[in-house]
């Protein structure tokens, strides 16, 4: 199973400068664990630790096949072989 994950500039230090990496997982949570195994430190940039587990960080956008995962169940979003995942930090401020 291979899922292409596009990595934003700010996170490329974790992927040796690569702007796309491959991962596997039936859900986004599993994919992130898989990415962490190969690219340590990445998970902490994507997830917020909470009392009983974790959630996607508020200002990190993740898309599966061009849909925001927040509409697909967040970390429980289902993934299939050949899916394309894109990670983009929010552009925001005050």
């Amino acid at each position: 199973m291979a899922i292409e994950v596009r990595i934003p500039t700010i996170l490329r230090p974790y992927t040796g400068g690569e702007k796309a990496v491959t991962g596997a997982g039936d859900s986004l949570a599993e994919l992130i664990d898989d990415l962490e195994a190969n690219h340590p430190g990445l998970r902490e940039r994507l997830l917020d630790a909470k009392d009983e587990g974790a959630d996607l960080r508020r200002f990190v956008n993740v898309y599966v096949n061009d849909e925001d995962v927040r509409f697909l169940g967040g970390l429980e979003a289902e993934l299939n072989d050949g899916d394309q995942v894109v990670v983009l930090p929010a552009v925001a401020g005050g």
């Binding site: 956008n61 898309y63 929010a90 552009v91 925001a92 401020g93």
Partner: protein
């Protein structure tokens, strides 16, 4: 490894005017957008006004679908966001703590425009530019030219 930082943002007049007009138009809400340019060129060539999905006088955020579309488009064109701009409507044109905490494009010039003085009306704005890298803010000069030279 940090790239060499220029200490000036060079913009053409049309782009400068467009950013200012956008900020004035959206006041009292914060306005936001980017100026894209060829990756690695540091040339802000293509102005892209964005919608502030927060629609707030104190916060801005690109809508997540707009954001994806923008980055797909820049990727197709081999561009990057050379300038990321937004406006402050009641405070000075200096990055807030929120701005600093959420700045995630290490190669971008962060432009902040303040419309606090004249709002939607005629009159000068504050227009300043910064590099924000690893939480550190460095102001830079802004140079407005008739058009970007071929060799910049």
């Amino acid at each position: 490894m940090l790239p060499t930082l220029d200490d000036v943002l060079t913009l053409d007049r049309a782009t400068y005017d467009a950013i200012v007009a956008h900020a004035k138009r959206d006041h009292p809400d914060e306005a936001c957008g980017v100026v894209a340019g060829p990756a690695g060129s540091d040339r802000p060539e293509r102005y892209v006004e964005m919608v502030n999905a927060a629609g707030s006088p104190t916060f801005y955020e690109f809508d997540s679908s707009d954001l994806l579309r923008l980055y797909r488009e820049m990727d197709d064109r081999d561009e990057e966001p050379v300038v990321i701009y937004h406006s402050h409507t009641a405070t000075e044109a200096y990055p807030s703590r929120t701005d600093i905490g959420l700045a995630m494009e290490p190669n971008a010039h962060y432009v902040v425009v303040s419309t606090q003085e004249h709002g939607n009306n005629h009159g000068p704005v504050e227009f300043r530019s910064y590099r924000i890298v690893d939480g550190e803010v460095t102001e830079e000069a802004v140079s407005v030219v008739p058009s970007l030279s071929p060799t910049h």
